[in-house]
């Protein structure tokens, strides 16, 4: 993580209903508590209707723009394969990428009018080499008993990039944002995700 006035840019992408907004809220809670200025922007007019969802997340000592400059993404955290490759041009050459290994077919593909992109991982690796990480979020969450926790699995995996943030800080944020009955599941999801990367 860069200090000394630099801003870190995290771009989250996924499909409405995948819980990207909760994931970005966890990040916000963590980095705000860690003493940074945080800005977060999302467009969520019709996301409930299965459209694509993106969140621009920025933290640093002083942050001006709520949205990331095109090409300036340090971390791409994506919850779906097509919605990751869609933003490949946004990532800095040295940027890091975490992708949930899940396909959700958009209408044009459902109708047989378009192809779902093949080899998303390969396309990323061509440019970003070892900085590309796929996580089987659905599978891990399913094994824990609830597919809904896939988003927190991804957050767990993503937490590896910030060694200066302690596990407790992530767990506190998860607990602060979720109902008590969901705490056990999501704490487990966080640790399983952390191990997965």
């Amino acid at each position: 993580m860069k200090k000394n006035g630099k801003v870190t840019n995290i771009f989250l992408s996924g499909v409405g209903g995948q819980g990207t907004i909760l994931a970005s809220n966890i990040l916000a809670e963590v980095f705000l508590k860690a003493g940074y200025e945080v800005k977060k922007a999302e467009v969520h007019g019709m996301a409930q209707r299965g459209g694509d969802v993106t969140t621009h997340f920025r933290f640093g000592k002083k942050v001006y723009s709520p949205i990331i400059k095109y090409g300036d993404v340090d971390f791409l955290l994506s919850f779906e394969l097509l919605e990751s490759i869609r933003y490949i041009n946004w990532v800095k050459p040295e940027g890091k990428i975490v992708i949930n290994n899940q396909e959700i077919l958009p209408p044009a593909v459902n109708l047989g009018m378009a192809q779902y992109p093949k080899d998303v991982e390969k396309a990323f690796k061509k440019y970003f080499k070892e900085n590309v990480h796929l996580v089987n979020g659905q599978e891990i969450a399913k094994n824990l008993g609830n597919m809904q926790a896939a988003n927190v699995v991804l957050v767990g995996a993503f937490s590896n990039f910030f060694p200066e943030i302690k596990d407790e800080q992530w767990i506190d944020a998860i607990k602060a944002l979720l109902a008590p009955k969901l705490h056990d599941l999501n704490v487990k999801a966080f640790y399983e995700g952390k191990k997965a990367l």
Binding site: E29, K39, K40, P106, G112
Partner: protein, 603 residues
């Protein structure tokens, strides 16, 4: 001092609470909807209500202000068009208790029918306008807006836009301070509040005098800030445009305007003296540019390079101002090559079979604003006009008048329940009054769907979930004089088609109301209970791969190209698959299938 990360809209709500607001009224609209929801959910000291439309919201808030209460009306940009009538004249009467109109613009039309720039309303109505650039300013500016409102006896506009309204940034929380204004109505003030010509002429002059005072105030306004750094270039900007520009050109000098109307003329003059070249960066219209040029200044750059439409962003500002020196990031993949992911009607949504029926009937559909506008997308493509809230009913009537008998059987107006109550009732009255013959279908899904489930006069609940009266659309239609009123079940495609066909052909006004078809996401209405089965599956022995079921554009159904044949030997190029995680058992695809290849399954 407690600091919290807040969405711009939540910060506006907080600002209202801290400012001692007593009354808040709104009609939901992206990106403003969360403000009143937040007020109702978080701040019991503020009375909050969803009104049928924005005009009513402004009138409710204005009436409250007249008693001395601080009040607020909240809307999206196009909502102010609806509320323009009371708004324009409230500028003349002034207010008593502080009165703020929050208007949220939507540059880039993320979820709107146009991209209008609300700053023009401030100039048009001769009222001050504040424009926050982040959540902290949202909160601070709401409080200042009320102070200005009471000090100058004027409505004040607070303009946000998508990237401020829907962005989160840290906010330092304060405490609520009740207004010191005494409460009560004073009949002796009638000349100020009764806008008959004699009084209007008096007030007209007051408006101009007030603007002069506000101009002087703008020069001292502490949120009009000059930041002098490198004096070679100075930027005049406001709101999120300032943030984008500061992000990419931190070394330049800035005049950041917190108040965008009226403009601080002396401050602008001083800025032009301090810097060599002035650049104006603003989203949408050349509002500041036109005014500043009219003051006689020459600018280095403005709308000659900064786009006049859609939203700005750091890279748009950077590339516009750097010109050829801007280095675009490397293109690794053309995004246009990827399939888009537009929003779609939910699996099981009652709008899907209704629009499928209309498509089969070949009707010209005057649509309206709501989730059902999505029926315009392929493959449904069953909606042919959509202008503004409530327009469908009046437009269908006008089209029928123009077409005469030729139009019978071919035209229909389709409007959601919330939209009908917003702006569809008056035009339906007009259809009857002027002896029209158009057909209006009210898609009653028991909630304001598109903006995220807000209550309205037809849901039976207030914003704070207290049970209340529920408009009866049938009785309302009768009262307006509609004779042919029928309930339709959108999930029965065949029956629906028959009824709609009959009604469109009738030479009299018809009102059709969708029954038992609540929004799929409205849990309290138990939308899934009406379905006999919880899942349908493809019988691959029978599926001929005719793709008819794909025409309804259900997110649960997908095409699988794989050559094969039915049990009785019919060759096919592929078959379809119903995703059991998404299917809710609405049976619409089964009704569409001609080969009985879609059958109940078990989850």
């Amino acid at each position: 001092m407690k600091k919290e990360l807040m969405q711009g809209n939540a910060a506006v709500a907080r600002g209202a609470w801290e400012a001692g607001v007593k009354i808040a009224a709104a009609y939901p609209g992206t990106p403003s909807s969360e403000i009143l929801q937040d007020i109702a959910g978080t701040y019991p000291e503020i009375y909050a209500e969803w009104t049928p439309n924005e005009k009513v919201a402004v009138e409710v808030a204005a009436g409250a202000a007249l008693t001395g209460a601080r009040s607020m009306a909240i809307m999206k940009h196009v909502g102010l068009n609806v509320a323009a009538d009371p708004f324009m004249t409230l500028s003349y009467t002034g207010i008593k208790g502080g009165f703020t109109i929050v208007v949220a613009d939507d540059p880039n039309v993320h979820s709107s029918q146009n991209e209008q720039d609300s700053r023009n309303w401030a100039r048009f109505a001769k009222v001050p306008m504040l424009e926050p650039a982040d959540a902290q300013e949202c909160k601070d500016f709401v409080k200042i807006a009320f102070d200005i409102s009471e000090k100058f006896d004027t409505p004040v506009m607070l303009r946000t836009e998508t990237r401020v309204a829907h962005s989160d940034s840290p906010v330092v929380l304060g405490e609520r301070k009740e207004s010191a204004m005494s409460m009560g109505l004073d009949p002796k003030e009638a000349p100020k509040y009764v806008m008959v010509p004699l009084n209007v002429r008096v007030r007209r002059k007051v408006v101009d005098e007030r603007m002069e005072k506000l101009e002087a105030y703008a020069d001292k306004f502490k949120y009009n800030v000059m930041e002098i750094n490198d004096t070679k270039i100075g930027v005049i900007s406001s709101g999120v445009s300032y943030q984008y520009t500061k992000e990419v050109f931190p070394e330049w000098s800035y005049l950041k305007l917190g108040m965008v109307w009226p403009l601080p003329k002396k401050m602008i003059a001083a800025f032009f003296k301090k810097v060599k070249k002035v650049v104006i960066v603003e989203e949408l219209d050349p509002f500041l540019e036109t005014e500043i040029k009219a003051m006689g200044y020459k600018i280095f750059h403005g709308k000659d390079v900064i786009p006049i439409r859609y939203e700005l962003s750091p890279e748009i500002v950077e590339s516009a101002l750097k010109g050829k020196a801007y280095k675009a990031p490397k293109i690794r993949l053309k995004p246009g090559d990827l399939p888009r992911r537009p929003p779609n009607l939910c699996a099981g949504c009652s709008h899907r079979p209704l629009f499928y029926a209309l498509k089969k009937l070949g009707a010209f559909v005057f649509g309206d604003i709501g989730c059902y506008t999505l029926a315009v997308a392929p493959p449904l493509q069953a909606l042919h006009a959509c202008i503004c809230m409530g327009a469908s009913v009046g437009m269908a009537h006008g089209a029928m008048k123009a077409l005469g008998n030729e139009g019978l059987g071919k035209v229909v107006a389709v409007i959601g329940d919330s939209t009908f109550l917003h702006g569809g009732v008056t035009p339906l009255m007009n259809v009857v009054y002027n002896k029209g013959n158009s057909t209006t279908i009210v898609l009653d899904n028991r909630i304001t769907g598109m903006t995220g489930h807000q209550e309205h006069a037809g849901t039976g609940f207030t914003i704070r979930q207290e049970p209340t009266n529920m408009v009866d659309y049938e009785e309302l239609g009768k009262a307006l004089g509609v004779k042919s009123i029928r309930k339709i079940d959108p999930y029965d495609i065949k029956a629906c088609m028959e009824i709609i066909k009959e009604e469109m052909a009738k030479n009299e006004p018809s009102l059709l109301i969708c029954k038992d078809s609540p929004c799929m996401l409205l849990r309290r209405a138990k939308p899934l209970e009406r379905f006999k089965n919880s899942l349908y599956v493809i019988d691959t022995d029978k599926c001929r791969g005719c793709r008819m079921c794909l025409e309804i554009n259900c997110p649960a159904i997908s095409w699988h190209a794989e050559e094969g044949q039915t049990k009785d030997g019919q060759k096919r190029k592929g078959t379809v698959y119903i995703n059991p995680d998404q299917c809710v058992g609405c049976e619409v695809c089964a009704q569409v299938c001609k080969f009985d290849a879609i059958v109940p399954g078990t989850k």
